[in-house]
Amino acid sequence: MKIQSLKRWFTSSLRGFREDNRGLSSQVDFMVAVIIYVTAAVIALGASAALIYGSVGANPSNGIVADRAADRLADDYLVDNANDAILDRECTTAFFDKETPGDCGFESSWSSVDQPEHYLNRALAVEEAKQINVTIRTTSGSIETVDGTRLALGDKPPEDRSTVHGYHRQVGLDANDDGAAEWYHISVKVW
């Protein structure tokens, strides 16, 4: 009995479906279809980017920026020539003092920028929207001070390390000016 009533309801529904004036809502249906399709396309394209690059908190390009900045310091700005593995004391202290001695590979214009907080970004060619921190540390991890200059520049990196990209270079530095260079590392962090 129930089955028969179900059949009756289904056939009457179908008849109603065929006979009613569905055409009146065709325009609305068409618009709904377009919206669904466009929304799906946007979601699919957005999801594909997330699948390719992942959904990590840190911007992957920051790693390249940190890498390039560390190389620039270790191979150019803080040494006499690119093949030196020992940092030049004068150039190193001048860089962290935001000064410009004649023989060093960085320019005076950086220290006279309108916004001193962007000195590092200007010097290391890093866009100003990014934050950067540069330190020279001993093998025990403490920041070195040479001739009264603390070898650290930039804001403190955020506590959430997943958003920070770092790169470091091992270098030599005669911090005490006694002719014996010791091991240090240049650490660059970008976020």
Binding site: Q27, V28, A33, I36, T39, A41, I52, R169, A181, W183
Partner: protein, 205 residues
């Protein structure tokens, strides 16, 4: 557009509107499935691969920097000369005749026991020298096992002369006076003694 939609009699006379919606939903689903399949099939580089590449590049830079600084400070050459002539082996290397970790006075003690140890980096170091007939031989200096996955290598060359002194307990002797020094005089006709290549293989533990 509005005029087109609401005066288009074809739309009003048939039931195609519903099917447009169903079509759109079907194709939206197909589009998403196609994109997911295409991404899975293509050799994409995910964030983990990027991180692994960067870690490998950092490791390579570390190794190359350590050798470069050691060379600039003279410790690389001292390392190749840290030879116990009486015992015919590296100074304090014991019966294995090679190091697992550096003894306290070793020229490379700081980078190996501080820098590499802090960063969980394992290393093998060998000295490659020339023989009298022009071929090369390898003398192991440090050996910490079979290199792991993603190991990288770095090398640096140093030259010894006939009058270069050994380091360690027999520093009063030159390499040419030594009776057991591992590298022979590969250039007997000149004051040059040998050309050594220090090769380091490093990997993350």
């Amino acid at each position: 557009m509005r005029q087109f939609l609401f005066t288009n009699t074809e739309f009003q006379r048939d039931n195609r509107g519903l099917y447009y919606t169903l079509d759109a939903m079907l194709f939206a689903g197909l589009l998403i499935v196609a994109v997911v399949l295409a991404i899975n099939a293509a050799p994409t580089q995910g964030s983990q691969d990027v991180a692994a590449d960067r870690a490998e590049a950092q490791l390579q830079t570390n190794a190359q920097d350590v050798l470069a600084v050691a060379n600039s400070t003279g410790r690389l050459k001292e390392t190749t000369l840290y030879w116990d002539d009486s015992a015919s082996r590296w100074v304090d290397s014991g019966s294995s005749e090679r190091y697992f970790k550096p003894p306290s006075d070793h020229p490379l003690e700081t980078p190996l026991s501080k820098i590499f140890k802090q960063e969980n980096i394992a290393y093998n170091i060998a000295v490659i020298y020339q023989t009298e007939d022009g071929s090369t031989e390898t003398k192991r200096l440090y050996y910490q096992g079979t290199p792991g996955a993603h190991a990288v290598s770095a090398q640096y060359t140093t030259v010894l002369n006939d009058d270069t002194h050994l380091r360690g307990p027999d520093s009063d002797r030159t390499v040419s006076e030594s009776s057991t020094f591992y590298a022979p005089d590969a250039f007997p006709e000149s004051s040059k003694y040998n050309i050594l290549q220090v090769r380091m293989i490093v990997w993350k533990l």
